[in-house]
């Protein structure tokens, strides 16, 4: 094909329009969401979590049974149209108990993570922001606590406080904020040296404004990732505690309690163990996938 001069026309050399911003700028969160949507496993995790939440909230309302209804004529039944996942040794509907268990396990996961987040952000934020001697002392304390096997002390606290949902939260909350505090401190320590903080300070911003407007929003990515990954470890710890007899009180049952109860008669009625075990595992999968995806999406620098 021949090219001739007529086929071309000069474009408008208007400096103003060349500099104009055509598309609205993409915020950090929109960008992160776009990246997260591309990650198939993370989205599977996210939708699984949404599905589990919906089941946990509405499932027990729809179910014709209650988690504590005993029916001794229908003990240890296998899956049927009446009891979809069978019954336990007291004839209680297993599906209903698992859905109630989801409420307890997820409550523990979310609240414990929120508690760790609050304590960790405040502690790490103060330590990183003030630096110097305060930072030194606060981080020495974290170091000493970190050298101690925390799960042993969660167990000890549970022995002292007596089992129960509230006490599990207290024990988990008191103990697992260390990782969050370290991450926040590291973030704040590097962020406060940034030029925009200096700029904000030079126009007279107060400490509080700098912390809330600059430091916390910029440290949000790693904080969210850590909080997300804290949820499955809290659920895991609760299941572990329940399994060794330090969980919630009967007839309430978390997944760990259900699995632990089923262990006694596991050889005869293995499904009583498998269903809660599958529920725990799927939830852990979902949160781990989402956490990994969020890490990639919120912290593009770290991505390989």
């Amino acid at each position: 094909m021949e090219y001739s001069a007529e086929m071309f026309k000069p474009i408008n050399k208007d400096i103003d329009s060349a500099e104009a911003i055509v598309r609205p700028s993409v915020t950090y969160w929109q960008d992160a969401w776009r990246r997260l949507k591309k990650n198939r496993m993370a989205m599977v995790g996210l939708w699984t979590i949404v599905a589990i939440l919906v089941i946990a909230i509405f499932g027990p309302m729809v179910s014709p049974y209650s988690y504590s209804d005993q029916n001794l004529e229908e003990q240890n039944q296998y899956c049927s149209s009446k009891h979809w996942l069978g019954t336990d040794d007291l004839g209680r509907d297993l599906l209903t108990r698992i859905m109630y268990g989801a409420r307890i396990s997820l409550t523990v996961g979310f609240l414990a993570s929120l508690l760790n987040l609050t304590v960790g952000v405040i502690y790490g934020g103060i330590s990183g922001f003030y630096g110097g001697k305060i930072d030194n002392i606060m981080m020495r304390i974290v170091e000493v606590l970190n050298a101690i096997p925390m799960l042993l002390y969660v167990i000890l606290l549970m022995v002292i406080l007596e089992p129960g949902l509230q006490n599990i939260l207290i024990a988990l909350g008191l103990v697992y904020w260390l990782g969050m505090a370290r991450i926040v401190r590291g973030q704040v320590l590097s962020l406060k040296e940034q030029d925009y903080v200096l700029a904000a300070r030079s126009i007279g911003a107060s400490n509080w404004q700098i912390i809330t407007k600059h430091l916390i929003p910029n440290a949000m990515g790693p904080i969210i990732v850590t909080a997300t990954l804290n949820i499955p470890s809290a659920i895991f710890t609760e299941a572990f505690l329940s399994f060794i007899g330090l969980g919630v009180n009967a007839p309430m049952a978390s997944w760990g309690v259900l699995a632990s109860d089923a262990l006694q008669s596991f050889r005869s009625y293995p499904w009583q163990l498998f269903f809660p075990a599958i529920a725990i595992s799927i939830t852990m999968f979902a949160f781990n996938f989402l956490g990994d995806g969020l890490r990639d999406a919120l912290d593009p620098k770290q991505r390989k």
Partner: protein
């Protein structure tokens, strides 16, 4: 190096002391004390018991006595097993737990590390996807689920391996797999990301461009540098193996310390809980100390960053 070791050692002693103190006061914060039952004991018996366990002494004296005994390595008597001391229980149970734990750590290292390297070298190929799929299962499935599943498949259904008890090498396999599941998967993931990190370094390109074969590069440069994060994870790994043993030893009815510990929790055997907690804490703190020293020896750069902090 010498002063670093000394400084770390002093902090280890300090941490163990803090742990012992905290444990003592936590246990004594229990309302009513360990012999409070629903059915009240005759006052004479109550008095005798309190005298035997010195519960009538003021708290500070009990504390001084306890720390004094600790320094002599005496963790005191068990509240529930009459005539047995906590030391006896540890002496009986710990070798078995240590055996199982050690085998699991070795398994996790020998399987997890090579899997991670293969995964990184074959990034995004089927080998990588295959290994990483297993790894995500490994980190997501709790150890008690893993243990019961393994028992159901290999002991109950296939009957290849014994389901419980302890003694022959065959008894070790299933509990070992259950305990090693998480660390193996974790090592594979850790090793993959650190290998990918090392592969993008300039010195790898230099090694290649000076004519070193790919195999030699991987062996001499990649693995040696990529393995460092694995060494730092050894401390938390041992902690995980210990807590995992509480569950796994119970499921497989292994007479190790983990099982005694859980039994003492069920029985509210306070001195045993206290003694075993202090024993495990001290053990972990010491092991962490050794890992740190080893790390310092393997990677001399660490001392510089330590000095900077």
């Amino acid at each position: 190096m010498g002063s670093y070791v000394l400084r770390r050692f002093i902090s280890v002693i300090l941490v163990i002391f803090v742990v012992a103190t905290a444990t003592f006061f936590l246990m004594h914060a229990i309302p009513g004390g360990p012999f409070k039952r629903e059915k009240a004991l005759p006052p004479a018996i109550q008095r005798n018991i309190e005298e035997r366990y010195k519960l009538n002494d003021p708290l500070w004296k009990q504390y001084v006595d306890y720390i004094g005994n600790l320094l002599r390595g005496d963790l005191g008597p068990s509240y529930k097993y009459l005539g047995r001391s906590v030391n006896d229980i540890i002496r009986e149970g710990f070798p078995i737990s240590a055996h199982l734990g050690l085998v699991s750590v070795v398994f996790a290292l020998l399987v997890g590390v090579p899997c991670g390297i293969i995964s990184a070298l074959k990034q995004n190929q089927w080998q990588d996807n295959f290994i990483m799929a297993f790894a995500i299962i490994g980190v997501s499935v709790p150890s008690f689920v893993m243990a019961t599943l393994l028992m159901y498949v290999f002991a109950v259904k296939l009957q290849w391996l014994p389901a419980a008890m302890w003694g022959t090498p065959k008894h070790v396999i299933l509990p070992m797999l259950a305990l090693a599941g998480f660390p193996t998967a974790f090592f594979a993931r850790l090793m993959r990301s650190s290998t990918l990190d090392v592969l993008s370094q300039d010195y790898i390109r230099t090694a290649r461009s000076k004519g070193l074969s790919w195999g030699a590069v991987v062996y001499k440069h990649v693995i040696k540098n990529a393995i460092l994060p694995v060494v730092t994870y050894l401390g938390p790994l041992i902690a995980g193996i210990i807590t995992g043993s509480f569950v796994v030893e119970n499921i497989f009815a292994i007479p190790g310390l983990g099982r005694y510990y859980v039994t003492s929790i069920y029985n509210r055997d306070y001195t045993t809980i206290m003694g075993v907690t202090i024993f495990y804490s001290a053990l972990l703190v010491m092991l962490n100390f050794l890992v740190d020293i080893a790390y310092c020896w393997i990677d001399p750069r660490i001392k510089l960053t330590d000095a900077k902090e």
